[in-house]
Symmetry: C2
Subunit: 332 residues, 2 copies
Amino acid sequence: MTELTRRGMLSGTAAATVATTLAPFAETTTQAAAPPAGKQAPGFYRYKVGTYEITVCTDGSRTFPLPDNFVLNAKKEEVNKALAEAFMEPDKMTIPYNPIVVNTGSKLIVIDTGVGEANFERSKGVVGQFHNNMKLAGIDRNAVDTVIITHFHGDHIFGLLGTDNKLAFPNAEVLVPAPEWKFFMDDAEMAKNTSERMKEVFGGVRRVFDALGRKVTQYEAGKEIAPGITSVATYGHTPGHMSHIVASGSSKVYVQADVTNNPLLFARHPGWHAFFDQIPDMAEATRRKVYDMLVAEKMPVQGFHYPFPSLAHVEKTSTGYRETMVPWTPTI
Amino acid sequence: MTELTRRGMLSGTAAATVATTLAPFAETTTQAAAPPAGKQAPGFYRYKVGTYEITVCTDGSRTFPLPDNFVLNAKKEEVNKALAEAFMEPDKMTIPYNPIVVNTGSKLIVIDTGVGEANFERSKGVVGQFHNNMKLAGIDRNAVDTVIITHFHGDHIFGLLGTDNKLAFPNAEVLVPAPEWKFFMDDAEMAKNTSERMKEVFGGVRRVFDALGRKVTQYEAGKEIAPGITSVATYGHTPGHMSHIVASGSSKVYVQADVTNNPLLFARHPGWHAFFDQIPDMAEATRRKVYDMLVAEKMPVQGFHYPFPSLAHVEKTSTGYRETMVPWTPTI
């Protein structure tokens, strides 16, 4: 090894071959400059759960100045410290949106729908990409049998409508959590919840479901609501927030929706209450319970607000939980 | 909050709306079953370093039964424990291959070339994907000005040749590390290195560079070998192994080549000597030095054997280093 070591350190300038040594690069340009592409790859990713084929189709991700009250129970400097520890820029927050399509072999099922195509142009393509990425993935929206909604925030339901305010999935049955429907369609609740934030949420809910003629099918927790897809009560983020376990053969994935927002902040700091958590204490209790289960079961999690393609394993740390992204598989 | 909490727990079956409750799903199928796509998304990803555009084009990844001596200085059960801790299957190893293309605005530069198109068919598309993914990314191989080779293992150099054994990048200057050239083109070294493994490596090197008529340009460490791209001596994995810093404006990325193999094993366990490390002690010293620098500088690393798209930050842990994958950006 010693000899190799010494050799390895030599610079090899005397190699007796036809190889030339490097001329100043400016003189060696042989091609016209290629223009930068400026365009990202199609935003979808496929993996199998048993015989099921899951296609993650990103809706995009939004970056915005960090609001002072983004974490309700932590100071901005603590949040900035956590951002730095996750190698994210200070004073900014990035939230990715990643709906999925499940092909069970007999049914084509969408889980959550993104912020909607109407926001694609408004945001200059930053968000609202879901339907286009489905198309790029070769999935026909007219062939979708079922849309499962996890909860009634705009980034999950606005994509039920197309740019023309018509149904984005015209042939699909739309499944919604029964307790979510009960809360948000209750006019007395709407009258009571008068904060700007809640008025906005209620307004979005009514706009979307009124456009659907309120034609939805309510589902309860703990039921197999589609082949191999079981609903799980994960209340707190909203009053009727549901997650789903997709199972085929001996394989499972936990589709968590908003049990955490971006995990680099909120899985690593499960005690933090995100601005978007409507019932923060309940959301935290749910988060800890779900993540303890994921750790114990070694079950992968598909996280709506995880970085695309949003599939990870989690482990327990001294202060919370930490993700290992499931390695990208170049073939499926 | 108490009322919301109670409401959230209710099941909402009595909601007075037109919404229906869920019928058994078998009766609600409305569409013909959509066939599974069975096809992964195009394997490229773009990001910016200053004004430079980097396109990571995966060559695929190979999974194989874990050899007993895969880690030269650790027992198989220790390796299996580390695989489990990284949520990888036991008794298997997965190694991704991820070359990159750098568009500086004036030059189009490839760094490493994958196992070659000839292996695409042989592997049924599992590896040898690089040239096709370049094409899917809209990059014309004929427009490539420069190919930078980091070291002379087959997964880095075989892609210099096409299926017809002709030049895969016919108009490009091929830059190779001078100490690597000196070692591997030395007939006396070839005669001395008679292990099966080293005979295979020497054979591959001669086959490729003889097909190129040995027309390469040697480069030294510590030089700007292309606009904004500086070579760094990272000897050990092979005698002349080089890494590269790509810099534009105030942004930098460290293109590490094989300073580690799959980081889930070898960044997390930097003291482990991979079967492929030719001079293991030197490779380990290099690995620790580079990773301590990456941690201190908070510099992102582009790792050839990292999971696609292979861009990560690293931090120091009690036992080694740990990656945080840079979040996928759905727009660039």
